[in-house]
Amino acid sequence: MDDLITQITAHYNYWMVIILMMIGLYITISRGNLIKKIVGLNIFQTSVFMFYISMGKVTGGTAPILTGNPDEVYSNPLPHVLILTAIVVGIATTSLALALAVRIREAYGTIEEDELLTIERDAEAAEDKI
C-alpha cells in the first residue's frame, strides 16, 4: 500500500499531466460547441507543456544562470526552451482555430457541431439526388 502511495505521490506531476490530458481530450470528444473544443484542445496542449517543464526540473536545482559556484545544481533548461516554441505554436493554433470558428459562424450562422453536421449532411443528400 505504501509502495503504491509512494508511486503515486513521487510521480504526482505525471498524474497531473495525465489527468489534464484526459480532461482535454474528453472535452474535444464530447463537447459540440466549436469554441469549447478549442478550449479542450488548449487544455490538452497545456498538459504537454506541463509535462516538458516538470521533466526538466531537477530537485533542488535553481534557474540555469551561471553563478560561478561549481557545485550549483541547475534545472535542465532545454525542455523549458523547447516548450517556449511549443507554446508559440499552441497560440498560433488557437488563434487560427478561433479565426476559423468566426468564419464558420459567418458562413453557417452557428458553431454547434450537431447543427453544422445536419446542414452538411443535408447538402450532401441534396448533391446525391441531383
Binding site: 484542445l41 482555430a97 476559423l100 458562413a107 452538411e120 446525391d128
Partner: protein, 501 residues
C-alpha cells in the same frame, strides 16, 4: 556556383521560402504574390535538385546550423532518402504554383491572393524543413509550420464551398492532436536519452535498451504520425479537406503532405528506433499492417461510391497510403523500396488527377461525376490526362502505378505473404471500378443539355500533362526512380539494426 552558396545549400533550402513568404503578403502589384511564390519555388527546386545530385552517390551532407556541432546544435542532414523527398516536394511546388495561377484566380478571392500565397509558401517551407532537418524537435516545429499554413489554405476554398471551413477546422483539431502526440513521444524519448539529434538519439536508444518510457514514446510517435499521414482509420480529416480545398492545394497536398509524413515515419522507425527491440516490429505487424490492408481495401471501396470526383480521389489516396504502409510494414529492403517508389509514383499520379479535377471545377463548374457526363468530348486533353492518371491508379503497365504494384507484389511474394498479394490485387480491381466509372461517364454518355465547357487554359494543361507525362515516362523507364528508391531503402536498412534477409 560560388563556394559560399554551395556550402549553405541545406539551410538555403528552407530559409529562401521562409523569407519570401511574408513578402507575398506585402506585394501589392497585380499577380506579384504569385510571381514571387513561383520564383521562390523555382529556387527551392533548383536547390533540391543540386542536393539530390550531391547525394546520389551515397554521400551524406551534414550541415551545422549556426556552426554549432551536433548533438548540441541543430543539424540538417541530407541523404538519398530525404533528397528524394525534397525533390518531390519542391518539384510539385513549382508545378502546382504554375497551375495555381489560373485555378486559384477562379477559386479564391483576388484580395486574398497575397495571403494565400504566403500560406502556400509557408506550407512549402514547413514540408521542406521537416524533410531536411536532422533534429527531432525541429521536425515538430516545421510540421506545425506546414500544418498551420495548410489549415489556412484549405479554408481558403470557402469561396466555392463553405464546407472548406469546417473541413479546415476538423483538420486543425486532428492535426494538432497528432502533432501533440508526436511531441509527447519526443518528450519521452528525451527523458531517457537527453538528446534530440536524430543520429544521436538512435545511438543512445540502442545503448539504453528496452523500457516502458521508450515503449510509450514509440506508441505516441506512431499514432501521432499515423494521424498526419492519414493512416486508416485516422484518415477522417482527409476526404473533406482535400475535397473542399482549392484544387491547386489538393494537388499540392496530396502529392506532398502525406508523403512527407510517411518520410518522417520511415525516418523515425528505421533511423531512430531502428527495430533494436522486438516489440517495435511486433506493433508494426499487429497494428500497422492490418490497418494498412484494411485501409487499402476500404478506401478504394468507399471511393467507388463517390460522385464528387475530388472526394473519390481523396479516398483513393487513403487506399494508396495503405499500399505504402503495407510496403513499410513488410520490414524488408524490397518492401521499403516499394513503399518509397510508390511514394514518388503516387505523388506524380495524384497531382495530375487533382489538377484534372481542378480544370473541371474551373471550366465545367462542377466536380460531380454525374454532371461531368460527356466531358471527354468537350475537354479532350484534360480528360485524357485523367485516363493516364487513372490507369496509373489501377496499375496498368507503362504507367508508374504498375511499377509500384509490381515491386509491392514482388516484395510480398518474397516474404511469402499471399493474403497481402491478394489484397493488393483486389484493391487494384476496385480502383478499376472507380476509375472506370468516371471514364464511362466522361466518354460513354452524352453531355447534359445546355452546358458549355471549354478546354482548360494552357497554364493548367501544361503542369497537368507534365505530371501525366512523368507518370508515363517513369512507368516506361523506371531506372532512375527505382535506383533512387533502392538506394534510399538501402540507407534506411543500414541505419536500422534489423537483421536483413
Amino acid at each position: 556556383m560560388p563556394q559560399f552558396i554551395a556550402q549553405h545549400l541545406p539551410i538555403l533550402q528552407v530559409i529562401v521560402p521562409l523569407i519570401a513568404a511574408p513578402f507575398c503578403a506585402l506585394i501589392s502589384v497585380r499577380n506579384g504574390a504569385w510571381w514571387l511564390a513561383f520564383v521562390t519555388s523555382l529556387v527551392t527546386f533548383a536547390i533540391s535538385v543540386l542536393l539530390f545530385a550531391a547525394t546520389f552517390d551515397g554521400e551524406i551532407i551534414s550541415y551545422h546550423l549556426g556552426g554549432w556541432a551536433p548533438p548540441i546544435g541543430i543539424e540538417y542532414r541530407v541523404d538519398m532518402l530525404n533528397a528524394f523527398v525534397l525533390t518531390i516536394v519542391s518539384g510539385t511546388g513549382v508545378l502546382t504554383l504554375l497551375y495555381a495561377r489560373a485555378s486559384v484566380a477562379h477559386e479564391v478571392d483576388a484580395k486574398q491572393h497575397g495571403l494565400f500565397y504566403t500560406a502556400f509558401v509557408l506550407c512549402l517551407t514547413g514540408l521542406l524543413g521537416v524533410t531536411i532537418t536532422g533534429d527531432a524537435f525541429n521536425v515538430f516545429v516545421f510540421l506545425e509550420i506546414s500544418s498551420l499554413a495548410t489549415y489556412a489554405i484549405v479554408a481558403s476554398g470557402a469561396k466555392t464551398d463553405r464546407r472548406a471551413l469546417t473541413a479546415a477546422y476538423n483538420y486543425l483539431i486532428m492535426g494538432t492532436i497528432g502533432a501533440t502526440f508526436f511531441v509527447i513521444g519526443l518528450g519521452l524519448l528525451y527523458m531517457i536519452t537527453g538528446t534530440l539529434n536524430m543520429a544521436d538519439l538512435a545511438q543512445r536508444l540502442l545503448e539504453h535498451g528496452d523500457s516502458r518510457t521508450l515503449r510509450m514514446g514509440y506508441a505516441f510517435i506512431l499514432v501521432g504520425l499515423g494521424l498526419k499521414l492519414a493512416m486508416f482509420p485516422l484518415h477522417q480529416w482527409l476526404p473533406n479537406a482535400y475535397t473542399y480545398a482549392p484544387s491547386a492545394v489538393s494537388a499540392f497536398l496530396s502529392a506532398t503532405a502525406t508523403k512527407v509524413a510517411i518520410y518522417v515515419l520511415l525516418r523515425f522507425l528505421f533511423s531512430v528506433f531502428g527495430f533494436s527491440i522486438p516489440f517495435e516490429a511486433d506493433i508494426l505487424f499487429l497494428v500497422v499492417l492490418p490497418l494498412a490492408l484494411a485501409g487499402s481495401l476500404i478506401g478504394a471501396y468507399i471511393a467507388t461510391y463517390q460522385d464528387n470526383l475530388k472526394r473519390l480521389l481523396a479516398y483513393s489516396s487513403i487506399s494508396q497510403i495503405g499500399a505504402m504502409l503495407i510496403g513499410v510494414s513488410m520490414l524488408s529492403a524490397s518492401g521499403l523500396m516499394a513503399a518509397i517508389i510508390h511514394l514518388f509514383n503516387h505523388a506524380v499520379t495524384k497531382a495530375s488527377l487533382y489538377m484534372v479535377a481542378g480544370a473541371y471545377a474551373k471550366e465545367a463548374g462542377t466536380v460531380s461525376i454525374r454532371e461531368l457526363r460527356g466531358v471527354g468530348r468537350d475537354m479532350p486533353f484534360t480528360t485524357a490526362a485523367f485516363v493516364v492518371g487513372g490507369m496509373s491508379l489501377i496499375g496498368i503497365p507503362l504507367t508508374v502505378g504498375f511499377i509500384s504494384k509490381w515491386y509491392l507484389v514482388e516484395a510480398a511474394l518474397m516474404r511469402g505473404w499471399w493474403p497481402v498479394v491478394i489484397v493488393i490485387v483486389v484493391s487494384s480491381l476496385i480502383a478499376l471500378i472507380y476509375v472506370g466509372k468516371f471514364i464511362e461517364a466522361a466518354y460513354m454518355h452524352p453531355a447534359p443539355q445546355g452546358i458549355i465547357r471549354r478546354e482548360a487554359p494552357l497554364t493548367m494543361l501544361i503542369p497537368m500533362w507534365i505530371f501525366a507525362g512523368l507518370s508515363l515516362f517513369f512507368g516506361i523507364n523506371s531506372s532512375l526512380t527505382s535506383e533512387a528508391a533502392a538506394r534510399a531503402a538501402q540507407g534506411l536498412v543500414a541505419a536500422s539494426s534489423l537483421i536483413w534477409q
